[in-house]
Symmetry: C2
Subunit: 317 residues, 2 copies
């Protein structure tokens, strides 16, 4: 059997963003219900030029398929006019082990499923009334996070923080973000003072947001720190938070901003709730407008499984 | 950039077996010299139908590429006329993370690189004079092990052990093994009495070869046990062995027949030599004809890297 080959242009053309959000929400619920088997994470790191490769794999029990996802990040690529991110997804039969389809999405689906997770976090955790959306970071993921928030909030005002004025300008000019009224800033204060829904989506290796700046009634989604060494939040922020949510408790014990806070004994893992349990109504999410909530996501294979399945279904020959 | 797609038929047509053995030997040496970076192993297991999926990845330092290899084994496949093994290899740029080539070898290259490792073990560890080759197992790998031994020994007499007379008959009739004079047997004794080069290549989950049966001057290559639960050798055999060799000390501590012997404190890892160190002449191999030697291989990504590179080089457009 020859696997079906699916290229990025077909994927982009056929992807339904709202459907992706719905299916990934279902995926988080399946995970928290114990219906998902995940392979141990595997990765490679490169020094010259700096890069990494992450391999995630898993399946839904009693399903027809399993999925392996490869995502690469080579951070000097933009200097030679290539995107940093790349990758592909492989869909196999859970009955025979045969390769069914290769989704040569070049990292696009990883970007989308990550943005969808940000929307889901906001849907369940952000205050009802969003005054202004704060985006920390100017890259592809920082752009997609804003794009996907339109499905879960009516707020169309956003402030974007970055270190590079040129990148900020480019961000504000993105045609696919034209629904939003976008301001840019070099001062983090402007974000923390004006925004009660903040998303961090950078490759930072040290904290960008600090405890004292976070006002009551703020929700933060931290997306960028997905491996040891990467960091976006001052671990002390978690002490101030009323609600701490992760995509996977198992992964957060080792990766992401939560891992720092747990290692420094600022919080214990028992204070952390999985988003799937909130979706399933087994655990409360935000219960009042003054709470501080944090969703720290490192990305899990169930997102890849769900998006690969929906893409394959829509393009199956 | 669109990756080059390479299918099994092209791979089979272009593969040079002797070159593969040479390159994998070089690969083992590179590994023992510390020139190879390996990703943590990842795998998935399936219950109904029974199957597994192994993901291996790695790269040679300062090389142009890195490789991810996926191998699946679904052991009920033959009942629906499909091969048990399947898989593919992915070749990426170590400079940009881009996917360069997809080798849709359907598991063929994993079979070949494993057979090549068996030939390398025999080259360095078997007695000079091979009286008869003993093959334990009747599957594809048991066949390929014999096929590849022709490159490292002049012996053309073989006895094959299996449980199923029909499978034994099929084995003996394989046209690509016609250089060999093949006898078959249902009695393991015949193997251990007559053969001083024995290869185990089964999916057994309990010991097939026992300490008391192993005569002085025997070399055993154990290939089949590559994950927890699989076993081919009575752990006590390792106590009797003069030379114990692995493809990777790190992996043998956890997987394969050696892991049982180490866990039961029959031997310690310090008694185990890496094949790469023997190839590099840093450690002795067999020093006399009466020694008992064992090579217990679980398969490492450097083999996949080397075979993927040579296939890509020969088929590069």
């Amino acid at each position: 059997m020859k696997p079906q080959l699916i290229y990025k242009n077909e994927i982009v053309k056929n992807l339904k963003e709202k459907t992706v959000i719905k299916l990934i929400e279902e995926g988080f619920a399946l995970l928290s219900r114990g219906e998902v088997v995940l392979a141990p994470l595997s990765s490679l790191n490169f020094l010259k030029p700096p890069g990494d490769c992450h391999i995630k794999a898993g399946y839904i029990k009693h399903d027809d398929v399993f999925v392996i996802k490869v995502a690469t990040g080579f951070y000097d690529n933009p200097t030679i006019n290539l995107p940093s991110g790349n990758g592909l997804m492989l869909l196999f039969s859970q009955k025979t082990g045969e390769l069914i389809a290769i989704l040569m999405d070049e990292g696009y689906l990883t970007d989308i499923r990550t943005a969808a997770a940000g929307a889901i976090a906001a849907k369940y955790l952000a205050p009802k009334k969003i005054s202004c959306i704060g985006i920390i970071g100017t890259g592809t993921q920082a752009q997609l996070q804003l794009k996907f928030l339109k499905y879960v909030t009516d707020c169309r005002d956003a402030i974007v923080w970055g270190r590079d004025p040129l990148k900020l300008e480019k961000y504000a000019e993105q045609s696919y973000l034209k629904d939003f009224n976008i301001q840019t800033t070099l001062n983090m204060d402007e974000i923390t003072r004006s925004c009660n829904l903040i998303v961090t989506a950078t490759v930072s290796r040290s904290a960008l947001l600090f405890e004292k700046e976070i006002l009551p009634g703020t929700h933060i989604t931290a997306i960028g720190a997905d491996e040891p060494g990467k960091q976006e939040l001052d671990p002390a922020i978690f002490r101030k938070a009323d609600i701490i949510v992760t995509d996977s408790k198992k992964q957060s014990a080792k990766y992401g901003d939560l891992a720092y806070a747990i290692a420094q004994k600022i919080i214990s893992l028992s204070k952390v709730t999985e988003i799937g349990d909130i979706i399933l109504n087994k655990k409360p999410g935000r219960t009042n407008e003054q709470q501080i909530s944090i969703a720290d996501f490192t990305g899990i294979a169930i997102q890849d499984i769900q998006i690969a399945k929906t893409v394959f279904k829509s393009l199956k020959k």
